[in-house]
């Protein structure tokens, strides 16, 4: 009798207590800063979510070291969180209204800013009271993280687009990097065909089914897939049509090789099968893994779209910005970011040579480290050049539905390359995006 009752109560208690314990462990509050005096050294702990140990995490740790000189009691705890996981975590926390579990600072892809700020304003603190001078950043970059005129992101990773080409291959075809500077896409295709005829090497490569190239072309003309109000403008968009025309001509003429995965893409130019690439400046990190090609590369601006109003030779791809969460110790977090990523030449001068992290912070353009010639790129002062480019990148509206638009256009490109009429394929993409926005 007694035994039965004992066993029965145990049977009841054990699983329940396990379940309760599982719930309880997650609820422990993260330690945040104690006292935050208005002036003088601060103390406390900042938790940061970001990805890539050799790049963003490294930069954040260097920033922590620099900040610790004046504020020895501030600890920065960096938690490595790949972007896909970070987005999933943010969505889950926002959806379950558990914003107490957010870190103080997190890194966010520029293209994902509008979507997250518009859908989940509860996740963010704005930069209104941070003291950060946003005029010291390129307008094209701050636009990504600005919603209704309010800044939600401090630009870090520079996404300015560059054309990087193998000068030794160009030389075989009797050309130099100057032949590819300030040109239009039709010039580019003519010259690239010539290079291919003489050397057998295509100049560009990219992932099939990715629309990075198209998006760069669009932004170079200040155009996007959405208008000011955020409505899709995929059909009857002259810049987009021209960009797709240009892209399919690139592919069909054989000067642009399509591959299936990112690794294959990197492989094409590292192995020397393709003599150049167009991408965000961060691609230099991958280019420089090919040690045997040192001194054989040069960097210039992008070709511009023919016959499109507002077309320029400048664009961007990717890049990310620091966000302050709604759960942050705001005073400490904003002071930290303001004194490091928006105020420390030392930081950017440290991280540039070792990780290739190019600043978006414009005062760095005069820095001697930035104007140092790079042997790998034939003695070009690449980084100050990139900062020059970045000032001229036209701003465009990514919109909350950026990823929907991008994927619909990607699908349309696949169909167009398989023979569907471009206008029809884009009309279908427009419908797909309109459907997704309903």
């Amino acid at each position: 009798m007694n035994k039965v009752r004992k066993i029965a109560s145990l049977a009841l208690l054990v699983p329940l207590s396990i379940a309760l314990a599982a719930c309880g462990s997650g609820a422990a509050p993260a330690p945040t800063a104690g006292d935050t005096a208005a002036s003088g050294p601060k103390s406390g702990t900042l938790t940061v979510w970001c990805w890539d140990p050799t790049f963003n995490i490294y930069a954040m740790k260097e920033a922590a070291k620099i900040y610790a000189k004046d504020n020895p009691d501030v600890k920065v705890n960096v938690v490595e969180t790949p972007w896909d996981d970070l987005q999933t975590k943010l969505t889950t926390l926002a959806q379950s209204k558990e914003t107490k579990q957010l870190p103080d600072i997190f890194l966010m892809q520029n293209n994902a800013y509008q979507k997250n700020v518009i859908n989940y304003p509860d996740l963010f603190s704005d930069y209104g009271k941070s003291g950060v001078d946003f005029t010291q950043f390129p307008a094209g970059v701050t636009a990504y993280s600005t919603v209704d005129g309010v800044n939600y992101g401090l630009p870090f990773d520079n996404g300015t687009a560059i054309t990087a080409l193998r000068t030794d291959v160009l030389k075989q075809a009797g050309m130099t990097i100057d032949d590819f500077t300030n040109i239009s896409w039709s010039d580019f295709i003519t010259k690239a065909k010539e290079v291919k005829a003489k050397t057998g090497k295509p100049l560009l490569s990219g992932q099939a089914g990715s629309s990075d190239m198209i998006m760069m072309m669009l932004q170079s003309a200040g155009a996007s897939l959405f208008d000011e109000k955020g409505n899709p403008t995929i059909s009857n968009n002259p810049a987009l049509l021209k960009a797709i025309d240009t892209y399919s001509e690139l592919v069909k003429s054989g000067v642009f090789v399509e591959v299936n995965s990112w690794d294959e893409y990197i492989g094409t130019f590292v192995n020397g099968n393709v003599a150049g690439t167009i991408n965000g400046v961060w691609i230099m990190g991958s280019i420089q893994t090919a040690k045997d090609q040192s001194g054989k590369w040069a960097v210039t601006n992008l070709p511009k779209l023919d016959g499109v109003a507002g077309a320029t030779n400048y664009s961007a791809n990717g890049g990310s910005s620091w966000a302050i969460s709604s759960n942050a110790n705001y005073e400490l977090a904003s002071d930290f970011l303001n004194k490091t990523f928006a105020g420390s030449k030392e930081l950017y001068e440290t991280i540039l040579p070792s990780s290739g992290a190019v600043a978006n912070w414009l005062p760095m353009a005069d820095s001697s480290v930035y104007s140092k010639p790079l042997d790998f790129f034939g003695g070009q002062p690449v980084f100050s050049k990139v900062l020059e480019f970045s000032k001229q990148v036209p701003k465009n509206n990514t919109g909350a539905y950026y990823y929907e638009g991008r994927d619909a256009v990607s699908a349309a490109i696949t169909k167009i390359l398989n023979g569907t009429d471009p206008a029809a394929a884009l009309d279908e993409a427009q419908k797909t995006v309109e459907f997704a926005m309903k």
Binding site: Q87, G267, A436
Partner: protein, 323 residues
């Protein structure tokens, strides 16, 4: 309305049992007490598990159903007008239709091939005269120990334009130029099916092997003595006895394939142009990658549930001949 006996005592069961036990014996309150106590004990044992299942499985399912009736982005959710709006929307969603088509292609092509293959392999490996049986069994089961993500990545590398498969085919002069396996609809689907076969055949084989151990060996011997060849023995003696297990694996495989996610996500990323994307992959994309539309995602998950339920019911009807 009710019988006088019930009215008299209010306890029809006790009264009925009394009558059965014989009118001569006086009512025995203890006996009734034991039975009731046993019942209670049983329920107490059942209760924790039942509560846990209610709380961890059924409660979220009900919540998901309520969610599927709501629309709105992010956390700004409101009940849809009309309530079934999300379900109605699915019918107009071209990408959803495409993912249903893809998933059913995987299901119809892959599951039968896999089950037949597993059955044949299990029979071969059940041979009493086979040497190194453990080695073969392990070798065929091993793919199941590999994580879904890592095997998908290996397959992606193998089937890339400059990957192992193209190199081999070109080396053997079967093809002149590399095939863009993952870049074309037909071949991309083929690669996913090949991956699924490699990963799951051994898993199903183990179920058949286990069932074969319970099979009375004398039935096979008897068949052989009666002059049945190995094919006839297999088809008329082994397979009928394995029917419950075949039913189980068929339901599990159907269930798994309809919920397919990892391969679609890691191998092809759903491309080219959504033509290899599975339903679950689309569901994930709607909820976490695109503008978060959890109501619509939940509606999609309920449609998947209904599909699984219908298919399982059909298979039970067709496959279960126990009664």
């Amino acid at each position: 309305m009710s019988s006088p006996a019930v009215q008299a005592t209010g306890r029809p069961t006790a009264r009925a049992r009394l009558k059965k036990g014989g009118a001569a014996r006086p009512p025995n309150p203890r006996r009734f007490g034991i039975e009731q106590r046993r019942n209670v004990t049983g329920w107490v044992f059942l209760l924790p598990a039942a509560l846990l299942i209610m709380w961890m499985n059924f409660y979220p399912m009900i919540q998901a159903f309520i969610l599927s009736l709501k629309t709105g982005r992010g956390t700004r959710l409101n009940f849809a007008e009309p309530l079934w709006y999300n379900y109605q929307r699915l019918l107009a969603d071209e990408i959803f239709k495409l993912t249903v088509q893809n998933t059913f292609i995987y299901l119809i092509v892959q599951v039968p091939i896999m089950l037949v293959l597993a059955l044949v392999l299990a029979n071969l490996l059940n041979d009493r005269n086979l040497r190194f049986k453990g080695l073969w069994r392990t070798a065929i089961f091993l793919p199941c120990a590999v994580s879904l993500v890592s095997y998908s990545l290996v397959f992606r590398t193998m089937f890339s334009t400059d990957g192992l498969v193209n190199d081999m085919l070109m080396g053997l002069h079967f093809i002149d130029s590399p095939i863009n396996w993952l870049g074309q609809t037909g071949t991309a689907r083929l690669v996913i099916i090949l991956g699924l076969l490699w990963r799951w055949t051994g898993y199903n084989m183990v179920f058949y092997l286990a069932a074969l151990q319970n099979l009375d060996y004398s039935t096979l011997e008897a068949a052989r003595i009666d002059g049945a060849g190995s094919w006839r023995t297999f088809w008329y003696v082994t397979v009928p006895q394995l029917r419950p297990m075949i039913l189980l694996t068929a339901i599990m495989s159907t269930n798994g394939t309809i919920q397919l996610f990892d391969e679609s996500w890691n191998l092809t990323q759903g491309g080219p142009a959504y033509t290899s994307m599975s339903m679950s992959h689309y569901l994930f994309e709607l909820s976490f990658q695109k503008n978060p539309n959890f109501g619509y995602g939940a509606a999609l998950s309920y449609v998947i549930l209904i599909m699984v339920a219908i298919l399982a019911a059909i298979q039970m009807k067709v496959g279960d001949k126990r009664d």
